[in-house]
C-alpha cells in the first residue's frame, strides 16, 4: 500500500485519457496532455481552480446557471471569482441557446468557462451536437478557455464515446481544453474518490511543466491521492475483458434510468396531467429538472414522503418500477392545479 506518486497512478491516468480523448488520440501519442489523478470530480475541479488562481490570478470562472452547487464553493474557496452564463431556459425546460451564445460573445476574450460535458447537473439539459459545434466555434473565436466537468461519461447515453462527443468536437476545433473526470457514477466508485484532471498543452515540454505544477498543488493538499480506487479503475480499463464487462454494466445502468424517464413521463401523461412532461425524456443523465416549484416539492415531501432538492431536481436513479407509479401520482397531485 505504498504511496502513489503525487500525480497518482500512472496507469489509471493513461486509461482515463484514452477514455476521454479517444484510444488513438494524437494528443496522447504526442504526450501533450498534462494529467494527474484527483479525488474524484470535486478534487479535479479543485486542483484546476487552484491552478487557475495561481497562474491566472486576475481571471474569473464563468459557470452555467444553474450548475452543481459545489462548483460555487470550489472556485470560491480557491479564490477565483465567479461569473455566470445563461444556460437553462425555464419556460421550455430546455437550453437557453441564444442566451448562452450571447454570453459567450459578450464575455471578455480569453475568459475561463466551465462546461458540463454531458448530462448537465442539475438540469439534465445538454446542447445538441450541432449546438456544441456552434458553442465551440464561438468560444474559439473569442479565445476562451473551456474547462469541462465530465462526471457522467457512459452514464448519460450508455455509450462513453458518445458522451464524450462535446469534448471531441472542441478538440477537433483546436481548443486547448481542461477536463475533470469522475468514476463515481460510471464505475459506481463513489466513496473511493477516483478521478482525473487533464489539461491539453501545446507540446510535450509544456505538458511536463504543467503536470509538475499540478503536483505542487496536490502535495500541500493531500500529498498523493488514494490508491485503492485507482487500482480498481486501472485494472478494469486496462484489461479488455473487464473493460467490455464494464461497458455492458454502465449501459445497463444508463438504460435503466432512460427507461425510468420514459415510464415516469408515460405515467404522468396517462394520469391526464395538464402540464407538458416531454422534458423528462428530453433531458439526459441522472437528473431531471422537473420544473416543480419549491412549494410543490415541499408538498411532495410533507404529504407523500418524497425527498428531493427544492429546485425541483429529481434523481432518476431513485426511481424504480416499484415506486414510479406512486411518484407520478404524487407529482400529478401537487402540480395539477398549477
Amino acid at each position: 500500500m505504498e504511496y502513489l506518486p503525487m500525480g497518482g497512478s500512472i496507469k489509471m491516468v493513461e486509461e482515463s485519457l484514452k477514455l476521454a480523448y479517444g484510444d488513438n488520440s494524437e494528443f496522447i501519442n504526442d504526450k501533450r496532455i498534462a494529467a494527474v489523478q484527483a479525488l474524484s470530480g470535486t478534487g479535479a475541479c479543485r486542483l484546476f481552480a487552484a491552478f487557475q488562481q495561481r497562474f491566472h490570478p486576475n481571471t474569473q470562472i464563468y459557470i452555467p446557471v444553474p450548475t452543481w452547487a459545489n462548483h460555487h464553493n470550489i472556485w470560491r474557496d480557491s479564490g477565483v471569482p465567479l461569473k455566470t452564463f445563461r444556460y437553462y431556459h425555464p419556460e421550455s425546460r430546455g437550453l437557453d441557446f441564444s442566451g448562452l451564445m450571447d454570453d459567450i460573445k459578450n464575455a471578455p476574450d480569453g475568459s475561463f468557462f466551465l462546461l458540463h460535458a454531458c448530462a448537465h447537473n442539475p438540469t439534465g439539459v445538454d446542447p445538441s451536437e450541432e449546438q456544441w459545434r456552434e458553442i465551440s466555434s464561438q468560444m474559439k473565436a473569442k479565445g476562451h478557455f473551456p474547462f469541462f466537468d465530465m462526471a457522467y461519461q457512459g452514464f448519460a447515453s450508455g455509450n462513453p464515446e458518445r458522451d464524450a462527443k462535446a469534448i471531441r468536437i472542441f478538440l477537433d476545433d483546436g481548443h486547448l481544453l481542461g477536463l475533470a473526470q469522475s468514476y463515481a457514477k460510471n464505475m459506481g466508485l463513489y466513496g473511493q474518490r477516483v478521478g482525473c484532471l487533464s489539461l491539453l498543452c501545446e507540446d510535450e515540454k509544456q505538458a511536463v511543466a504543467v503536470k509538475s505544477q499540478l503536483q505542487l498543488i496536490a502535495r500541500p493538499m493531500y500529498s498523493n491521492p488514494p490508491l485503492h480506487g485507482a487500482l480498481v479503475v486501472s485494472t478494469v480499463l486496462g484489461d479488455p475483458e473487464l473493460k467490455t464487462l464494464w461497458l455492458k454494466e454502465v449501459k445497463v445502468m444508463a438504460d435503466r434510468i432512460i427507461g425510468m424517464r420514459a415510464t415516469l413521463r408515460e405515467n404522468l401523461e396517462n394520469l391526464g396531467s395538464p402540464l407538458p412532461w416531454q422534458h423528462i425524456t428530453n433531458q439526459i443523465g441522472m437528473f431531471c429538472y422537473s420544473g416543480m416549484t419549491p412549494e410543490q416539492v415541499d408538498r411532495l415531501t410533507n404529504e407523500f414522503h418524497i425527498y428531493m432538492t427544492r429546485n425541483g431536481r429529481i434523481s432518476m436513479a431513485g426511481l424504480n418500477t416499484g415506486n414510479v407509479g406512486y411518484v407520478a401520482n404524487a407529482i400529478n397531485e401537487v402540480t395539477k392545479s398549477a
Binding site: 500500500m1 505504498e2 504511496y3 502513489l4 506518486p5 503525487m6 479525488l39 474524484s40 470535486t42 478534487g43 479543485r46 497562474f55 491566472h56 459545489n70 464553493n73 470550489i74 470560491r76 474557496d77 480557491s78 480569453g110 466555434s137 464561438q138 474559439k140 473565436a141 479565445g143 478557455f145 476545433d173 483546436g174 481548443h175 486547448l176 463515481a184 459506481g188 466508485l189 463513489y190 466513496g191 473511493q192 474518490r193 489539461l199 498543452c201 501545446e202 509544456q206 511536463v208 511543466a209 504543467v210 509538475s212 505544477q213 503536483q215 505542487l216 502535495r219 500541500p220 493538499m221 493531500y222 500529498s223 498523493n224 491521492p225 488514494p226 490508491l227 485503492h228 480506487g229
Partner: protein
Amino acid sequence: MRPPVILEPSTTYSSNSSSYSPSSDRRLNTIAKHFVNHVQMDSHNISPSPTASSDSVFAQIVRAPEDAILGVTVAYNKDTSPIKLNLGVGAYRTEEGKPLVLDVVRRVEHQLFTDGSRNKEYIPIVGLADFNKLSAKLIFGADSPAIQENRVTTVQGLSGTGSLRVGGEFLAKHYHERVIYLPQPTWGNHIKVFTLAGLTVKTYRYYAPATRGLDFQGLLEDLGAAPSGSVVLLHACAHNPTGVDPTLEQWEQIRQMIRSKSLLPFFDSAYQGFASGSLDADAQPIRLFVADGGELLAAQSYAKNMGLYGERVGALSIVCKSADVASRVESQLKLVIRPMYSSPPIHGASIVAAILKDRDLYNEWTIELKAMADRIINMRQQLFDALRARGTPGDWSHIIKQIGMFTFTGLNPEQVSFMTKEYHIYMTSDGRISMAGLSSRTVSHLADAIHAAVTQVA
C-alpha cells in the same frame, strides 16, 4: 499573431478548369478579397487550419522542481546500481528491504472484500463515524474526559497531510490569529500546507545542531515571545526530521508556557506507536494538554503505524471547551472539506475502523506495530555500533538517542551529495535518514559511506 488560415469560401463558383479564363481569375480574386475582409470580423465560416495552435494559457509555466523528499525516491529509482539504498521517504521497510503490509490489515481487507453487504457509496463529508470515534479514543485515550464530555469533534482526513490542511484552512477562516509557529526544522511540507491554507508561517527554535538534541531554552523563549493566541505546531512524538523529542517533564513545561500565553496547540501525530512501540506512551504529550481542559487540534496519520500509506487515512480532531462549540466547529469543518474533495475515501478508513473496534485485531496490530518499532530501534543500535567500530570521528550517540523513523545525522548537503554519488545512498539533503530503510545487510554499507563522507568531505 494568428497563424495563416486556409479559407474555404462557403459559396460555390465555377471552377471548371476547361473554362478557366482571366475573367474567372479576376472574379476569384474579388471573391477571395471579400472573404479576407470578413475574416477579421466573423470567423464563423472559417475552418481552422489543422496546423493552427492557439497560444496556450499555460505558455508561461515553468517546470516545478521535484519535491525535496519524494524527489529522493524518483532519483533512487533512476539509479541502476545494485548497492543503492533508499533512506529518503519515511516508509517502513522489512529486513529484506521490502514494503510491509501488516497481516492484520490483509486479513481485514479480505473480510471487507468478501462481505457482500458492503458497498462503495459516498461516506459522509466528515468520514466514517466509527472510524472517527475510534481514532479520537486512540489518541486521547478511551477514558479521556474531553471525549466523555462530547467536546471533541473528529473528521476523517486524507492522512496526516490532508488533516493538517483541513485544520489549517479552518483556522484561517475562523480563528482570530493567522500565524502558526513551526519548529525549526520541521517536515518540509508543513510550510506549504499551512501557507496555502492561508496562514502565515513563523518558526520557533527546536533543534540544537551543537548537541543534536533539543534547544529547550530557545523553544521556551520563542514560545514565550509569541503573540497571545498564536497557533503552535507540535510534533506529538518522533519529531520529523530530527527524531528529537522533549521529555515528559519538558512537555509539561511547554504545556504551561503555551497555556499561559493562550497559544493554540496543533499537534501532528504521524508516528503514534512507532516512536516507543507503545501507543499510549507516544500519546502522552497530547494527553497532558487535553487533561488541563484546554483546547487543541490534533492531526493523526495511519500511514506508518498501520502501513496504510497510499490509502490516505488520517483524522483531524479539535478539542473544544464545550460540546456545543464542538458541534458548531464540526459544521464548519464540513464546509472546508466539501469544496476540496467532497468526502474522504472509504477503503482505508474501513480497515482502520475494523481493526480498532475488534479487541483481538487491535491486539495483533499492537504486536505488529511494536515489531516495526523494535526493528528500527535495533537498526539504530547497529548503525551506532558500526560507526564506533570504524572509529568514525564525532559523537554518534544521537543515533540511539533520537526517536522514531528518522535520524538527523548532522551530515551537511555536500556530504550527503558525496554519499549519493559515491555510495548510491539516497537521503534528503538536510542529513535526514529513514532508519526504516536500513537492514542488517545494509548497515555496514551506510556506515562506510558516512565514514567516508565525514573523513573526506568538509
